[in-house]
């Protein structure tokens, strides 16, 4: 009888390679090195891109159960609901057609007036449609992954909108997919303007509360519940005039110089399926003034602008947004 119950190769007595502890030390050091390289130096993007491309076939296969689930849900919801949805969509289209026609006319009128005043033409924004593949499972952040990547022409820093408002910003681009940081992420900041009072501010993501928060507004600032906030367009990333959020709660406290203003995002950060990627506005703006003219300006100002420029060219992320928006807020605050 063959000895099938025995492993044919007995464990080697002496040649067992490095001990588990040595390996632990080596790989822990490697992991910590990777983290520093990722968080501080931001040099791991090529490694990520390679790994993401290798993973992509497996990921798309494993998305199938989710789409089956969604398909089953749609099938169950049935014909009746589809009819209702169609009627609602037709009604909405009829409502909007009148406005669309008027907008068309207004755009032409605006162009003529701008020509008359010899102003620069407004920036046109190019867009790219995409579909949300899945919510990133990382519980520490608020991100989604979309099905368009650098091979489709997605650029880092592009604003992303859904049908009702600003959804977020592309913060990582892979060859076939891209990661979008939602406006509700802790690190996200959108420069906004209150459409009623034209007061500028910066909306930050707060994942714990309703979604966003308008920070650094004075305790007696004119902000009311129900105010609509739009992008201000000052950051060079988001085009001006996109709806961002609505004021849900204003909490004026005696112990703080700032009011606590809670916002509800206009977009659906957790339910969006089809989204639109816009080209960052800064790509179409003229070049910033060169170093020579920056030198001519006062020293601290040039240092600040250099810092902002370096940041934005480094990763075009929300930090640059924050810095510029904060600068603009400071400027508007300084003006009487």
């Amino acid at each position: 009888m063959p000895l099938v119950t025995l492993d044919r190769s007995p464990p080697p007595f002496f040649k067992q390679g490095p001990s588990a502890f040595t390996r632990l030390m080596f790989f822990s050091a490697l992991a910590i090195f990777l983290m520093v390289a990722d968080a501080r130096w931001r040099v791991t993007q090529p490694l990520r891109a390679v790994a993401a491309t290798v993973l992509h076939p497996l990921q798309s296969v494993m998305l199938a159960p989710q789409s089956w689930w969604a398909e089953a849900g749609h099938y169950m919801s049935g014909l009746q609901e589809a009819r209702h949805a169609q009627l609602a969509a037709q009604k909405q289209a009829a409502d909007q057609s009148e406005r669309v026609m008027r907008v068309d006319q207004l755009v032409r009128e605006n162009a003529r007036l701008r020509e008359l005043l010899s102003l620069r033409p407004r920036i046109e924004v190019h867009s790219l449609a995409a579909e949300v593949l899945y919510d990133s499972p990382d519980p520490f952040t608020r991100k989604v992954v979309i099905d368009q990547g650098s091979s489709h022409g997605v650029v880092l820093g592009s604003p992303v909108i859904d049908e009702s408002g600003v959804l977020g910003q592309v913060t990582r681009v892979y060859p076939l997919t891209a990661e979008v940081t939602l406006v509700t992420d802790k690190d996200a900041a959108v420069p906004v303007v209150n459409s009623r009072t034209r007061q500028r501010g910066v909306a930050y993501g707060t994942p714990q509360v309703l979604g966003m928060e308008l920070r650094f507004m004075a305790g007696n600032a004119d902000v009311q519940v129900g105010d609509e906030l739009q992008t201000s367009g000052l950051d060079g990333i988001y085009p001006a005039g996109l709806p961002v959020a609505r004021v849900a709660k204003v909490d004026r406290r005696a112990d703080s110089a700032f009011a606590r203003i809670v916002l509800v995002p206009r977009s659906q950060p957790d339910n969006s399926r089809h989204v639109l990627l816009l080209q960052p506005v800064s790509d179409q703006l003229p070049e910033r003034p060169g170093e020579a003219s920056a030198m001519a300006a006062s020293a601290p100002a040039s240092a600040a602008s250099h810092h902002v420029k370096a940041e934005s060219s480094a990763h075009a992320g929300h930090r640059a947004n924050t810095a510029r928006a904060a600068a603009s807020v400071a400027a508007s605050g300084a003006k009487p």
């Binding site: 990777l34 790994a51 993973l55 159960p65 990133s136």
Partner: protein, 171 residues
């Protein structure tokens, strides 16, 4: 040496190890929404093979799978790699003792390992500047430890087959 009364197992098929690890990884890729309460099946499978076959599945394998998990989640690169490395080392460190216990006691003894892995992930992210994601995180290690008996049954099944099949023992 092995505990008295435990069945003599067939040698493991290396292909089976890799297939189960890849399957656990693929199951981890299914989008389940953004919550901390989803058990990490890959971690359970890695710990299982670290305990049962420490010579075949070691710390390096855990590290490599961790890097791929990081890329998939868009997390800090190295976060899962570090957690899995520590998990794998602790599993190898306890593997001689652990197999003397019943499966239920094994699950209780393996629970601190999973908790430690999640705490390491949490600490790394808090140091890197993320916010605290909420107490649902506590559920994940508990579920992973609960899965231990199931995983033991499933992954040991091929080794429990009879060496010589006959009419009474078809498998």
């Amino acid at each position: 040496m092995m505990p008295r009364g435990s069945p003599l197992l067939m040698p493991v098929n290396p292909v089976f190890i890799w297939v189960t690890l890849l399957l656990a990884f693929a199951l981890n890729l299914i989008p389940m929404g953004r919550t901390g309460a989803v058990p990490d099946l890959l971690a359970v499978a890695l710990v299982f093979w670290n305990v049962h076959q420490p010579r075949r599945v070691g710390v390096g394998v855990a590290f490599a799978f961790g890097v791929f998990m990081d890329v998939h989640q868009g997390a800090l690169l190295g976060q899962h790699a570090l957690a899995y490395t520590l998990l794998s080392y602790s599993a190898i460190a306890v593997h001689r003792r652990l197999l003397w216990f019943t499966v239920g006691s094994q699950a209780v003894q393996i629970l601190p390992l999973f908790i430690a892995a999640h705490v390491v992930s949490l600490l790394v992210r808090l140091i890197a500047g993320a916010g605290f994601p909420g107490w649902t995180l506590v559920v994940a290690p508990l579920m992973e430890a609960t899965l231990w008996p199931v995983v033991t049954f499933l992954l040991l099944a091929p080794q429990r087959r009879a060496p010589d099949r006959d009419k009474n023992r078809p498998l």
